[in-house]
């Protein structure tokens, strides 16, 4: 859901940026390490301990054999990412190691983890930065603002000025929201668009059903759908939306596709910077 947190957590433990990590939502839990490992937490802010000491977010941590990592609760945000050096060794299904819950495939047997599961790690590359390395705050998405940039979508021309004013008002993430989509509660958009044949969608697409209540498609988005896609969330800001909890506000700001792509390139270059800082701190250590 939060691709920035996935990549940043991996950089902090010396993994490829797309190595398999744990995505952790809701509640607490404990991981026990059967072998030494480099660990990092990113995304949602968690209260927890590793080997008895409080965990710092976005920081390279070292777990000794037998150590326990306990997450007590998530203080802010919705999805916590835990990267482990070597990455989680699960089979590649349809070119991916991720879990697709609706289809019950990918990841560990296509399901959520359960108490007592054992996770195997891949071979660590030996490129993890030393413990204490952390991501500079100015390279993070502006999670706390709830401001999310959007660019006009494929059916943007079918919406009148009124609807374009409404979409820029304040919305709240509904409790009816998951990895497929976030329903947004707020003013209903004026829409009289006739039924359209289905066309392609993508994560971040904001579709407007007949009731005028926007739905932002998320990571498990349908590839094709029939509701008009008025706008699409800027990829650089999709992590900000992903981390909003039910009841929290979101405010959209409209930008051009060129501005949105520039922001995506900036985010990618920020991740390269984090990786570069991690590598140079490894050399200094």
């Amino acid at each position: 859901m939060d691709s920035f947190a996935l990549a940043a957590a991996n950089a902090l433990v010396g993994n490829a940026l797309n190595a398999a990590v744990l995505e952790w939502a809701l509640g607490g839990g404990t991981l026990r390490f059967d072998s030494e490992c480099t660990v990092a937490l990113a995304g949602a802010r968690a209260s927890g301990t590793l080997g008895g000491a409080a965990v710092a977010p976005l920081t390279t941590l070292r777990a000794a054999k037998g150590d326990e990592l306990t997450v007590d609760h998530l203080d802010s945000g919705r999805f916590l990412y835990i990267a482990l050096s070597g990455g989680i060794d699960v089979p590649i299904v349809l070119h991916s190691r991720s879990t697709y819950l609706p289809g019950r495939f990918g990841g560990l047997d296509g399901r959520m983890l359960r108490h007592g599961d054992n996770l195997r790690l891949g071979e660590a590359a030996g490129t993890a930065p030393p413990p204490g390395f952390h991501v500079p705050a100015d390279l993070l998405p502006a999670y706390a603002t709830g401001v999310v940039h959007i660019s006009p979508g494929p059916q943007s021309d079918l919406f009148a000025d009124d609807a374009w004013r409404t979409i820029l008002e304040e919305f709240r993430v509904s409790s009816a929201s998951d990895r497929t989509g976030y329903r947004l509660e707020g003013p209903a958009l004026e829409t009289s668009i006739p039924a359209l044949p289905s066309d392609a969608g993508c994560p971040g697409a904001i579709q407007i059903p007949g009731d005028g209540k926007p739905i932002a498609l998320m990571a498990d988005a349908p590839t094709v759908g029939g509701y008009p896609k008025m706008a699409v969330v800027s990829e650089a800001d999709l992590p900000i939306l992903a981390q909003r909890q039910p009841g929290e506000t979101v405010r959209f700001e409209l930008i051009s596709i060129e501005q949105s792509q520039r922001a995506a390139r900036k985010r990618a270059s920020d991740l390269h910077t984090i990786r570069h800082l991690a590598e140079s701190s490894l050399r200094r250590a």
């Binding site: 979508g153 494929p154 044949p197 392609a200 059903p209 007949g210 094709v224």
Partner: protein
């Protein structure tokens, strides 16, 4: 149809949707499938995926390597030479899907269409449908063309969860939900046929161009 009708729209940072027309027709769909085949063979730099649909075709690409203007201009260029001659002869495979007509919306559909429940079922099983496009979730095939007496708009508020194996209708289409997902179609029945299995050599049961008939299960 003239080529001047091609219109490019961004679908976020990493995709461009090329609209070929505003009215669906077999000729337009043939032209879109032809454009998809041309693009697949054209070796377009930074192209990741091609998704043909009823009125448009969407190309996913790497926006770190190419910007929207540059990418959309090349895609439109390739699409302009697509032909709208439908593929002749039946190259697709034929499938029969056993259906139990026990869907939660069956009675509502009968009411909305002013048909008896039996008549809804008879009209749904009478047709041989063609697979137009794949999409939505893995293995979801959009089948057409539904008996016009059964044509209804999508539900205004989509359901948060539709069970795997649900047989549904919306507009001139019918389909089987391969997985449990949210959905806005009217559910008229269920089937045990597995529409998608990632462990099969070809995970999706249906391909564009195949034909499907539903048979009422006893």
């Amino acid at each position: 149809m003239t080529t001047s009708t091609l219109e490019a729209h961004p679908l976020g940072d990493s995709a461009v949707t090329i609209r070929f027309g505003t009215e669906r027709s077999p000729a337009l769909l043939a032209r879109i499938h032809s454009a998809a085949a041309l693009l697949a063979a054209a070796n377009v730099d930074a192209l990741d995926d091609i998704v043909p649909t009823y009125l448009s075709l969407t190309v996913f690409y790497d926006c770190l390597r190419r910007g929207y203007k540059d990418m959309s201009a090349e895609i439109v260029g390739v699409c302009e030479s697509a032909s709208s001659t439908p593929v002749t002869g039946t190259t697709g495979r034929e499938h029969v899907i056993p259906a139990r007509y026990d869907g939660v919306d069956l009675y509502a559909v009968a009411e909305l269409t002013r048909l008896s429940v039996d008549e809804v079922i008879n009209r749904h099983t009478a047709r041989i449908y063609r697979v137009d496009i794949l999409g939505f979730v893995p293995g979801f095939a959009y089948l057409s063309e539904l008996d016009e007496a059964l044509v209804l708009p999508r539900r205004e508020e989509p359901r948060a969860r539709v069970s795997a194996g649900s047989i549904a209708i919306a507009g001139v289409q019918t389909a089987v939900y391969p997985l449990a997902t949210p959905g806005g179609w009217h559910i008229i029945g269920t089937t045990d046929t597995v529409m998608f299995d990632p462990n099969r050599a070809e995970p999706a049961l249906l391909r564009a161009g195949d034909t499907v008939r539903f048979e009422r299960a006893k």
